[in-house]
């Protein structure tokens, strides 16, 4: 019953949030005193050229009308036309989504698989030498600029040691797109050589993105475990002689994780933010790379399309995380 409520509330909240996001991006492009037209055709264009372009882009209409056009377009999945390539932005974005999702999912998996045990161990051995070492390691992960880390990795592992490919998603063309996720596609066609190549290309981008994400997971897990470990039920279970590993890895960890599941949204935020620069450095053909290309080409529409698109994805992920939290926390659902 309560779960249904969470579900409906979250979904109902989605609509104003997405609407608000669109209002913000519209405000950025139309209210902030900047002249996109000038940026496209240069300072020296004649007034007639400017007027023509404005009309073509719909910039000569009243603001409200522009907003309505903008909104209805977005709701149809129409992000407008790229000022640079003159192609529909949504086409380009959707074509690049699988690359970004594949990278993010693998990264998230690596970060969780490494971060949770490290967080638990760090908390259990609180204030030990190990804990201090891990603390320095995680604080570093949050302090490092990921584009710099990416470059250092490239410099060392690819250029100096030659262990990993320098950049790109795969050598050559990659598997024929079935799902668009190269790992899955390589598995489906059973081409393990291809799979190895795909994985080799992923190592560095995944490590770069996973480090700060893992650092965040370690911190949340550690804090959650520390809080849970000082609760009365741990004392009770120790007093009743439950095995220590059952107390820590079953009871404490479950309590700690339920509290921190809501932070997955935050971690996705970190991933999205980092994907922009990491995809650039590794020449990874995802939406982050698209955003950077748009910036370099002064493609306002492309940048805004990216902003709205990632914004909506992020909002959806957060809604899912909330619903997931409702599912696994008995205090929420019953």
């Amino acid at each position: 019953m309560k779960l249904l409520v969470i579900l409906v509330n979250r979904l109902a909240w989605l609509i104003p949030t997405v609407f608000g996001l669109m209002a913000i991006t519209f405000a950025i492009t139309h209210i902030i005193p900047a002249d996109p037209v000038a940026a496209v055709i240069g300072e020296n264009a004649s007034p007639e050229q400017v007027a023509a372009l404005k009309e073509k882009l719909g910039l000569d209409k009243p603001l409200v009308e522009q907003f309505v056009i903008y909104l209805t377009g977005l709701l149809r999945g129409d992000f407008g036309i790229s000022l640079y390539t003159q192609r529909p932005i949504s086409e380009d974005l959707f074509a690049r989504v699988p690359a970004t999702i594949e990278l993010s999912v693998v990264t998230l998996f690596v970060a969780i698989a490494a971060g949770i045990p490290v967080g638990v161990i760090s908390a259990v051995h609180r204030n030990s030498l190990l804990d201090h070492a891990l603390r320095i390691f995680t604080v570093s992960g949050l302090a490092i600029a990921s584009f710099w880390l990416a470059i250092l990795f490239q410099l060392f592992f690819s250029m100096y040691l030659g262990w990993t490919p320098l950049q790109g998603r795969v050598d050559g063309w990659g598997p024929d797109p079935i799902t668009g996720f190269f790992i899955v596609d390589a598995l489906i066609i059973g081409d393990f050589e291809m799979l190895g190549d795909v994985l080799a290309h992923m190592v560095l981008p995944v490590l770069t993105m996973a480090y700060p994400a893992m650092a965040t997971i370690v911190r949340f897990t550690r804090a959650g475990v520390l809080e849970a470990i000082s609760s009365n039920f741990v004392m009770y279970e120790s007093a009743m002689g439950f095995p220590r590993r059952v107390i820590i890895w079953k009871y404490v960890l479950r309590s700690a994780l339920i509290g921190t599941v809501t932070q997955i949204g935050l971690i996705f935020g970190i991933l999205i933010a980092n994907s922009v620069v990491v995809e650039t450095v590794f020449d990874w053909p995802g939406i982050g790379r698209y955003a950077v290309d748009s910036i370099l080409n002064s493609d306002y529409n492309g940048v805004m399309g990216f902003a709205v698109f990632t914004g909506v994805i992020f909002i959806l992920i957060n809604a899912l995380v909330d619903i997931l939290h409702g599912l696994i926390d008995p205090r929420e659902t019953r």
Binding site: S231, N232, F233, M235, Y236, E237, S238, A239, M240, G241, F242, P243, R244, R245, V246, Y251, R254, S255, I258, D329, P330, R331, R334
Partner: protein
């Protein structure tokens, strides 16, 4: 005292490391419990009664607390010489079990009550022999279907013994879905399920309302008698101690000061602290009297008898030497250089 001695704590000293220095929280405490006996451990907050209870269970915080001296003999074996694995596997939960003060937070909020009962039975079922429990390894921790079924029957029997209505429904619930009184009944059920010889109950009714407290005390008293389980019952409430205890021991600032049979304890207090404590009870004869002064700190406690700064009868001996045990007959013993004894009785008469 009923039967032979089950637990004998002798001269136990425990200190905690704090920022301010070493806090001597227990200062040579003695205690005995016979089989099937309910011993009340009474004292005000910070007297060390919970530390004593946890010392017996072996769950003092490892980093901060250190047992510096003394023995804890349980059924003849010194627990302080046993390693943690043995205590956790063989003693705790099986031969000595625990009823906590706060029944709400002592359940994990994210597992159903039934899950937590079965977790207990998985590790602590009375079917497991001591040898099996001691030898437990990660690999041998499987929980067979047949034993699970028998354990589930035990759980159901016990839930009806603690008078919980609709036991199946309760097992499916989560701890936040049942009331405080029911939670404490569940805690008592868990403590008894493993068929222990000693239950350590740490202020088990403090968090409850007075009518619920009466129900729980009644239940605990009846079940302990029925199953011949000894109970170490800590409380700050003298009335509660009167209700269910066979004997009562008073602690002050980490020292045991007096122990006596329940009736004797209230009728003939011999330690000045016990006497003043009874005089602080609402409705005490001669009007309400508190005890001036505060409980001393543990880092640099007063020497000798720690009550001496607040005691009218304090002499030089009290300031330097911890009084020995003076036996007054029929299990009544006091640790005081100037026990009130007969002189007090005379005053009370006049």
């Amino acid at each position: 005292m009923t039967g032979d001695t089950l637990l004998r704590v002798s001269d136990l000293k425990v200190s905690f490391q704090t920022e301010a220095g070493s806090a001597k929280v227990l200062d040579g405490v003695n205690l005995t419990i016979g089989r099937g006996e309910i011993l009340g451990l009474v004292g005000e907050s910070g007297c060390g009664k919970s530390t004593l209870a946890r010392s017996v269970l072996g769950i003092l915080p490892k980093n901060a607390a250190r047992i510096t001296d003394g023995t804890i003999l349980f059924d003849g074996e010194n627990l302080l010489e046993r390693n943690e694995a043995y205590l956790a596997r063989v003693l705790r939960g099986r031969r000595i079990s625990f009823v906590p003060q706060d029944p709400f937070s002592s359940f994990s909020p994210v597992f159903s009550i039934g899950d937590q009962f079965m977790e207990l039975m998985k590790w602590k079922s009375p079917e497991i022999t001591d040898a099996q429990a001691a030898a437990r390894t990660i690999l041998s921790s499987r929980y067979g279907r047949a034993r699970r079924r028998r354990d589930a029957e035990r759980v159901m029997e016990m839930l009806s013994a603690v008078q919980l209505p609709q036991p199946e429904a309760i097992l499916r619930k989560y701890p936040h879905e049942v009331s405080g009184g029911q939670r404490q009944r569940l805690m008592i059920a868990m403590a008894l399920l493993t068929e222990p010889e000693l239950i350590i109950a740490d202020e088990p009714t403090t968090a409850l309302d007075v009518t619920i407290q009466a129900q729980i005390l009644k239940l605990l008293k009846a079940l302990a008698a029925e199953r011949n389980v000894a109970v170490l019952f800590t409380t700050h409430d003298l009335g509660t101690a009167w209700e269910i205890c066979d004997r009562i021991m008073v602690m002050y600032a980490g020292q045991d000061v007096e122990v006596a049979g329940s009736a004797d304890f209230f009728a003939r207090p011999n330690h000045p602290y016990t006497d003043r404590l009874l005089a602080s009870l609402p409705g005490a004869e001669g009007g309400l009297q508190g005890i001036p002064g505060n409980i001393p700190g543990f880092v640099s406690p007063p020497g000798g008898c720690r009550f001496h700064p607040r005691c009218d009868l304090a002499s030089d001996a009290c300031r330097t030497t911890r009084p020995g045990v003076t036996a007054l007959g029929s299990g009544h013993a006091v640790r005081c250089h100037h026990p009130l004894g007969t002189q007090f009785l005379k005053e009370a008469v006049t």
